[in-house]
């Protein structure tokens, strides 16, 4: 039932990501996508950095 608005949001998000920030893209959709993307980026970035450091230390042995 909720698929349609979410599909719309994802489409808007993809448009925003491809640089098409047309006034038709609702601000709320862009910001929802940006917020979720920022969280994934920061969390995955930090976890990735820790794992890389662990691997580097393993090689140090």
């Amino acid at each position: 039932m909720m698929m349609t608005p979410i599909a719309m949001i994802l489409l808007d998000g993809m448009q925003a990501a491809s640089g098409d920030l047309s006034p038709d893209t609702p601000l709320e959709h862009r910001h929802l996508i940006l917020a979720y993307a920022a969280v994934i980026l920061i969390q995955a970035g930090y976890a990735g950095w820790v794992v890389l450091q662990r691997l580097r230390l393993k090689q140090h042995k």
């Binding site: 949001i9 976890a47 662990r54 140090h60």
Partner: protein, 239 residues
């Protein structure tokens, strides 16, 4: 064995997050006044909550470090590794709380930022942990760990002020959603999505904490062995 358990825990936290996010984006109803942007809530609030819990792991570990540093240096080093890991995890969650909050604020209030009590005290918490990391990284006084522990104390004092800010003052930030009296709370149909996301981010936070703690302990061991080798080489040179 512990390593396997840790990675299993990490996988379980990702599964909880995937399920929670599915509920947040596809199942929870659209909020009446804010529309779809309110779905930021399902990741913003759990991250903000984690940003108020991990400072206490950092604080307690810092206190243990201060208590043990002369009597039991080995135990103090463990506590120090935990304090550093908790500080980094806190910084990650507080940064996310600020960024998602600003994105949500811009879409629903029309502004990125306002100097209200909740936002300002939360920014202060972020600045305290940035200072903590800078002290750990660049201080060369020989008292680095003690200085960092003092910053942990300041941060622990700020946390209850952040929590109470929306109860003590009238702020632009919404009044408490949970434990805020009669008019607080969310629609029961939104609760499963919120609880799954909260569980997922809490588990993920613990996973990151353990992962980072293990890394710091390895660094400490390597630093200790390197120093020991240098002393041995020095002694051999003198002999």
């Amino acid at each position: 064995m512990m390593k396997k358990l840790l990675w299993l825990w990490g996988a379980a936290s990702v599964a909880a997050l995937v399920w929670g996010t599915r509920l947040a984006l596809f199942v929870a109803p659209t909020e009446a006044t804010m529309g779809n942007v309110q779905r930021i809530f399902y990741w913003h609030v759990p991250s903000a909550i984690m940003g108020l819990i991990f400072p206490y792991v950092n604080f307690i570990a810092a206190l243990v470090y201060l208590g043990l540093r002369r009597k039991k240096p080995a135990g103090a080093l463990k506590a120090d590794a935990l304090a550093l890991a908790a500080a980094e995890v806190t910084l990650v969650f507080v940064s996310i709380g600020l960024i998602t909050g600003m994105l949500w604020g811009r879409a629903s209030w029309g502004i990125w930022w306002t100097w209200d009590e909740r936002l300002t005290t939360y920014l202060l918490l972020w600045l305290l942990y940035v200072s903590y990391m800078l002290v750990r990284r660049f201080s060369s006084t020989g008292q680095t760990h003690t200085l960092a522990a003092v910053i942990s104390v300041f941060a622990a004092i700020d946390v209850p002020v952040v929590y109470m800010s929306i109860r003590w003052w009238r702020t632009q930030h919404p009044s408490p959603v949970f434990f805020g009296g009669k008019d607080s709370g969310i629609d029961p149909s939104m609760m499963p999505a919120f609880l799954w996301c909260l569980l997922g981010w809490a588990m993920w936070g613990v996973f990151l904490l353990c992962l980072r703690y293990g890394l710091e302990r390895r660094r400490q061991t390597i630093a200790y062995n390197t120093a020991l080798r240098a002393v041995e080489v020095g002694l051999e040179g003198n002999a």
